[in-house]
């Protein structure tokens, strides 16, 4: 496995250039160092470790759900606890695993990719990270409260979360508020960094795609996080202060919660996929040894997806009832999103076309992303068709759809990014054989897990139930086997990361042959302080 080695490490600045500031700065010892750090790389590492921890916690919850669904009937858990598990799994994975992972990658890589010495607001950066452990400790503590954890699904529809919610709902609201504040502060920081701290000579259209997609994602976060905060504040007031925003008895309307929630919720799904698009757009050209096809169209497609995401929220609510005109509008606007998304998929494929492709772990995950994310996109198109949606609504078909875009979508992109940048983070290549095992087991596991859900859903199996009719037994058994393969193969990933931190094949500054972005001009592992003096940026030939 030498193909990833560049013929000769070139353009590597001497270690001396970067060592200076780090050596001069005294740091508090031990744990205080991590609590007080304002360094973007250390905070990035904290985010990534936190996200991996939450990924494991949320994964355990998912395995409880899948274990219960292994056979029809109630075997392991009570329906009340089952509902808490599905809810907590969704909340933890979305707000605790996927979003912090992308913020962690942004923290680590955006300053390196644009040649900035750090994030624009380093102390704010520290605060946004440390809000997260507080938020999720609070959320997880609800499991031990009387009445149990939230059990109404991550969507927390009123009145399930107001009139019928457990007493711990108020804690859930506070923890989501904290996570939301963390996201907003992180987004402000990222925007300020990208707009002001680029290396001299780097224009917006010279930025790597990961930076572009994160800039757009950060704007989405700023735009919709206040809507979520508002909606859950109204829940809080309905529960505790006797208002009736969503209470029909007092003149409110429960459907309004769904509108508010999905006005946040749909852009939220793009918040979780746009940075993934950026990662794939960076990795595919490197391992195909060709420039990215259609860089400018990628940027415009990302912006178009972000704008359209504000116009499609009600496709989550077709079954709630709305006038025909509204159904048609939301159906067509949803389908319209497949145009810019298609532009992206075609650009990736065209980048691969006649490329000199090698299959290192980051590329394996990226290729799997392109194929499997497209499957998720197609089932999304099916769900967009109003008359068909009435059949698919609230079935396992929906579960299959959003897990295909989130697991082999977002999560595989995060894995790809980790394998791609681990040499830069640790100075070592990830263990080749173990990472291949991780990839193939994940690939087989994820498809065994989620593909049968399409069939179960089309056959009418409802989601969010602990027990089911006998005809769904085979599909569920396969899903559960896939879930355990997928879940346990993630332990291989943990092993790869630990081994990589502790040792392994040494990586040069430019760890991958085709990698040309600025982060590959600093040594591997990247010293604590980089680009104290702005680098000499030469725009890449993009076309």
């Amino acid at each position: 496995m030498t193909s990833h080695l560049p013929p000769k490490p070139t353009a590597q600045h001497s270690q001396a250039v970067y060592g200076g500031a780090a050596a001069q700065q005294a740091r508090p010892p031990g744990l205080l160092r991590w609590l007080l750090t304002t360094n973007h790389k250390e905070i990035g590492t904290l985010y990534l470790i936190f996200s991996l921890t939450m990924f494991m916690v949320g994964g355990v919850f998912a395995l409880v759900v899948r274990a219960e669904l292994f056979q029809p009937g109630l075997q392991l858990v009570q329906p009340e606890f089952f509902n808490q598990m599905t809810t907590m799994h969704g909340l933890i994975m979305i707000f605790g695993a996927v979003m912090p992972a992308f913020v962690g990658l942004a923290n680590w890589m955006i300053p390196l990719q644009i040649g900035a010495p750090d994030m624009a607001l380093p102390r704010l950066n520290n605060f946004s990270f440390w809000l997260l452990p507080v938020a999720f400790t609070l959320l997880l503590s609800t499991l031990f409260m009387p009445g149990g954890a939230p059990n109404f699904g991550w969507t927390s529809y009123a009145p399930l979360s107001t009139t019928y919610g457990p007493p711990s709902t108020t804690y859930f609201i506070l923890s989501i508020h904290l996570a939301g504040i963390s996201s907003i502060l992180g987004a402000i920081n990222i925007i300020a960094t990208i707009l002001n701290l680029r290396a001299p000579g780097m224009r917006m259209m010279d930025m790597p795609m990961f930076v572009w997609t994160w800039l757009i994602t950060a704007f989405l976060l700023i735009a919709v996080m206040p809507v979520l905060a508002g909606a859950i504040t109204m829940l809080l007031m309905d529960i505790n202060f006797g208002t009736s925003f969503f209470n029909a008895a007092g003149g409110g309307d429960p459907v309004m919660f769904q509108h508010l929630f999905w006005f946040f919720g749909h852009p939220e799904v793009y918040i979780m996929i746009l940075p993934a698009f950026g990662i794939i757009s960076i990795i595919v050209p490197v391992f195909a040894r060709k420039p990215l096809f259609g860089y400018a169209s990628m940027v415009y497609a990302t912006a178009a997806i972000a704008l359209l995401s504000f116009l499609v929220w009600a496709h989550h609510m077709f079954a709630v009832g709305m006038p025909l005109e509204a159904q048609l509008f939301f159906m067509y606007s949803t389908m319209l999103i497949s145009v810019p998304t298609g532009v992206k998929v075609f650009n990736w494929v065209t980048t691969l076309f006649r490329g000199s492709i090698s299959f290192e772990p980051p590329m394996l995950f990226s290729l799997a992303f392109i194929v499997l994310f497209s499957i998720g996109g197609f089932s999304g198109l099916m769900l967009a068709i109003v008359p068909a949606d009435f059949q698919y609504h609230d079935t396992y078909f929906v579960v299959a759809h959003f897990h295909y875009v989130l697991v082999p979508g977002s999560v595989f992109a995060i894995m790809a990014a980790s394998y791609y940048w681990l040499p830069k983070w640790t100075g070592h290549y990830p263990h080749a054989a173990l990472s291949r095992w991780h990839f193939w087991l994940s690939l087989v596991g994820v498809n065994l897990l989620f593909f049968p859900m399409h069939f179960a859903g089309l056959a009418g199996m409802p989601r969010r139930i602990p027990d089911y009719a006998l005809q769904f037994a085979d599909f569920n058994m396969v899903s559960t086997i896939g879930a355990f393969i997928f879940g346990f193969s993630q332990l291989l990933f943990v092993a790869v990361v630990i081994l990589c931190v502790r040792g392994g094949e040494k990586a040069p500054a430019r760890a991958w042959e085709g990698a040309e972005d600025l982060e590959w001009s600093v040594p591997s592992p990247a010293p604590l302080h980089t680009f104290d003096t702005p680098p000499d940026f030469q725009p890449l030939r993009r076309h």
């Binding site: 250039v17 704007f219 909606a231």
Partner: protein
């Protein structure tokens, strides 16, 4: 790690190093702008609540009816068609009351005023207060339903075992769309808690969520 070597100055001396103060100003400006967007979106969220109510009232989408008596419109009776008006009543969990309609359904001409009696009975052992909240189906018919008198305009307070009868006087306007043949009125009883007087009917915008 050693201190910066002399090659550092040489390597970068020909390139303009951005002025740190200028950069800080840029960061401050960007942060201010993002904070303005944030504030704007927060206000927008709060504004969505009254906007939603106005939108539903104009379009009649959520099948709500007005909370106060409306005047009788005398524009003649459209005797060419008969509309079936059905009355459905529902109780509520945790409230030991019955609400019954004396008439299950009536057939009326558009333009004609009609009275229907409803009976409330408190079957509990405590005096309590409740309110009947209406909903109209199909929802667009709510725009053509005028209530001249309705028990749903105010709360009812009944002693234990007390029974009262209250009228609903309504009129369907003559411009009711031809496609509507049946209008269903659903009244759901909700308990009114002693401390919750403020939560009635519409919600003032000032109580919107703080984002």
């Amino acid at each position: 790690m050693s201190t910066p070597g002399p090659n550092r100055a040489e390597a970068y001396s020909h390139r303009p190093v951005p002025d740190a103060r200028q950069r800080d100003q840029g960061v401050r400006r960007t942060v201010m702008r993002t904070l303005i967007v944030l504030l704007g979106m927060s206000l927008f969220t709060v504004a969505l609540v009254p906007l939603y109510d106005v939108f539903c009232e104009v379009t009649g989408l959520n099948g709500k009816t007005g909370g106060s008596p409306q005047a009788l419109v005398s524009e003649g009776v459209d005797s060419s068609r008969l509309i079936t008006v059905q009355f459905i009543t529902r109780g509520s969990q945790g409230l030991d009351w019955r609400l019954d309609s004396k008439t299950r359904q009536v057939r009326v001409h558009p333009g004609e005023a009609h009275e229907v009696m409803f009976a409330f009975r408190n079957q509990g052992v405590e005096p309590s207060t409740a309110r009947a909240v209406p909903s109209v189906s199909p929802s667009q018919a709510s725009l053509y339903l005028r209530k001249l008198t309705c028990f749903c305009f105010q709360e009812q307070r009944l002693a234990a075992g007390e029974l009262i009868e209250a009228p609903l006087v309504f009129q369907l306007t003559t411009d009711l769309p031809e496609s509507v043949k049946t209008v269903t009125l659903v009244y759901t009883l909700y308990p009114v808690e002693a401390n919750a007087e403020a939560q009635q009917a519409s919600i003032p915008a000032s109580k919107g969520g703080q984002a």
